[in-house]
Symmetry: C3
Subunit: 285 residues, 3 copies
């Protein structure tokens, strides 16, 4: 059965890559100022269309006109106190898929309060590094313990985030992706593990943020689990390929975006991943 | 006579390219966070000096100390409600040329209200894609109909924007530039048509925004119509040249900026364009 | 004796370069939107960790969890009126090193009032071009005269900024770095002069801003004067090396960041600089 699922998923990944290029879907973002350009360019490179906004009514409009939306918590402005709740509500109301990247979780009162508010709105896909995923599951009281704060880097391993990822996916009914040396993608029932990428993806800013934006593009044309897995796979593919041509992080970034643009559906679906059932596994610890 | 005009324009384009490099004029911007870095780097690449601001009194100061100014409506912050009207008034008061890019027109109450306010202030140059130009002419009630909203991409063709461009130019007494596969530049009396550029300019973010910023640099040293045509020509030149060396959108962007930097006055003035009188043409439909 | 100091400094520069790569220290920033991506990538390239924020309580948290902090005055938002004073106070309270880049000094009431407020908080390192350093010393009434405003470019020479740099360093008890064709770094007692870099560093945006961010990374692992000198040296090294491979400002930027990433402690400490005592020199004019 697993082989069949594998086969099915590979076809769905190919479809997602192809459909994003054919349909040019709009995946608007509310995202941080540090990597906003990288996010937009990565979205365009995989075939999507980008639109970045900050204001409350614009968030609501984008929830309506967009095919899926990306919310990244990196650099909050005061107006986010109004923009994010209204946008999240509009997305829920419309049943539009949305991707949340809880960057910086644990820093500042506004970020905590906004992320707490997302608990009820249930983002379709949550994407983060291990520390962020663990911290969010704890904030939502799906796991025990307390998460530390240290910039935007992961200090926990991906395996440590496994129960938190499962718990989050079961809570939202969507998918959760954890990025690291090994990547996990789960819908609470199945866990995919993938490898690839490049050390350089953590030596440039925007590697994670733009993965969230690209996930939102695929969420326009595929189910949440497939969208998250497709984005993970194209990043793993492009990372390996770009690293071979890079002399440092900046030339890596150029080669990486070019490779995102040139990647074929077959390139992406050929990326290896494993699948296992996690239905009997506890989604917390 | 048209040949003479052509000749004159070519000389004026050469002068604009040369003077921007010689005089290093200051063209401050209020522009979106997505492409602000690209705008600044493009302005520097053609010889200008950049300064980006958000606050109301800083807008007024920049209107005074700058040689021309660029206002891009991409990502509005709440403070823009005060900054843009005060800056526009200061620019009008000082008689300084300013370039407006109505990115995102149709999204959000603040953008609509700010763009409505610019009707009376009459920006010197308006630059946009076909959909944005049509939408602005309709917002200002210079054309009939209603413009759609879809991110920041053009869904109308450049030819469809022709009457709107003429109407806007006649209203402001300045110039209007419409970017697309074919580019139009008009002052309401003459219409220039140019080609070139690259498919990659719409596959990176900032192609249009930075063209606006570069137009503002040329508006420091040339008349509005010449400034808009020069910016269009250098983008067409650099686009063609950079595409030849690009393996994707990111390497295109690097080659494009390098080419902007290396382009000579003669490279730019040698770009083909056609000229026709539109004096008898209606500027609306 | 000067030779000994030279020797000692070279060792300290090597240590700083090495320790930044080993310890991956966190140097959060409050910095402008134009170059925020470049700042973060440059910080990562030399081994540091980056986190950019805007909100007041986040500034205080970053002052606690960061090893040093970078404040760049480039594009102020209204919330900075609260964020910067609270962050500066938190940094002083914790005795954490912080770097200020007074970009845009002279433009706008908020920038002036915030920079005036920093006089009492005494930033550990001040970094700017000649015009900015002179303007800050005048604003703090450490020198006579009035500074002009012109975007973000230096209109004064580095030598003209020498007394202002000395006066500022004596006031803060930290270090001051002035960037230009020749760079000055002083702690008010000794003056280092260094050369190198590239013409392209002033033809891209972010050359100066990212130098401030990298200085903050080194301030996590070295004394203020050494940190400022190390950052200056690695920029001079990388500038020369990158220019050889550049065809314009954009390919320069890529090569520059790659070179920052690849530079060894020995590469950086081998950069030439001169040292002289300025103890008898007046720190104002």
């Amino acid at each position: 059965m697993e082989k069949a699922t594998h086969e099915t998923l590979r076809h769905e990944i190919e479809d997602a890559v192809r459909l994003a290029r054919e349909k040019n879907p709009l995946a608007p973002s509310i995202t941080n100022t540090v990597t906003v350009n990288v996010v937009a360019n990565a979205q365009l490179a995989v075939g999507g269309s980008a639109a970045m906004i900050y204001l409350p009514d614009e968030g609501e409009t984008m929830a309506e006109v967009g095919d899926a939306m990306y919310i990244n918590m990196g650099t909050l402005f005061p107006v986010y106190a109004e923009t994010l709740p209204r946008t999240a509500k509009a997305l829920s109301r419309q049943g539009k898929p949305w991707v949340v990247d809880p960057v910086g979780i644990g820093t500042g009162g506004l970020r905590t309060s906004l992320l707490l508010g997302f608990r009820a709105e249930k983002p379709t896909i949550i994407r983060g590094n291990a520390s962020e995923i663990i911290a969010l599951a704890r904030l939502w009281e799906l796991c025990g313990g307390n998460a530390g704060v240290r910039g935007v880097d992961a200090t926990d391993t991906v395996e440590e985030a496994r129960p938190a990822a499962i718990a989050l996916a079961r809570h939202t009914g969507g998918a959760v992706a954890v990025s690291g040396v090994v990547d996990l993608v789960t819908d609470g029932k199945v866990m995919a593990r993938a490898e690839g990428g490049s050390k350089f993806l953590s030596m440039i800013t925007g590697g994670g943020c733009s993965l969230g934006g690209v996930t939102a593009v695929y969420a326009c044309v595929a189910a949440p689990f497939v969208a998250a897995l497709t984005a993970t796979a194209i990043y793993n593919f492009a990372g390996v390929k770009a690293e071979k041509r890079a002399e440092g992080p900046a030339s890596f970034q150029t080669a990486f975006l070019d490779t995102l643009y040139r990647a074929t559906p077959e390139d992406v679906s050929a990326q290896p991943f494993t699948l296992e059932s996690v239905e009997k596994e506890e989604g917390h610890r």
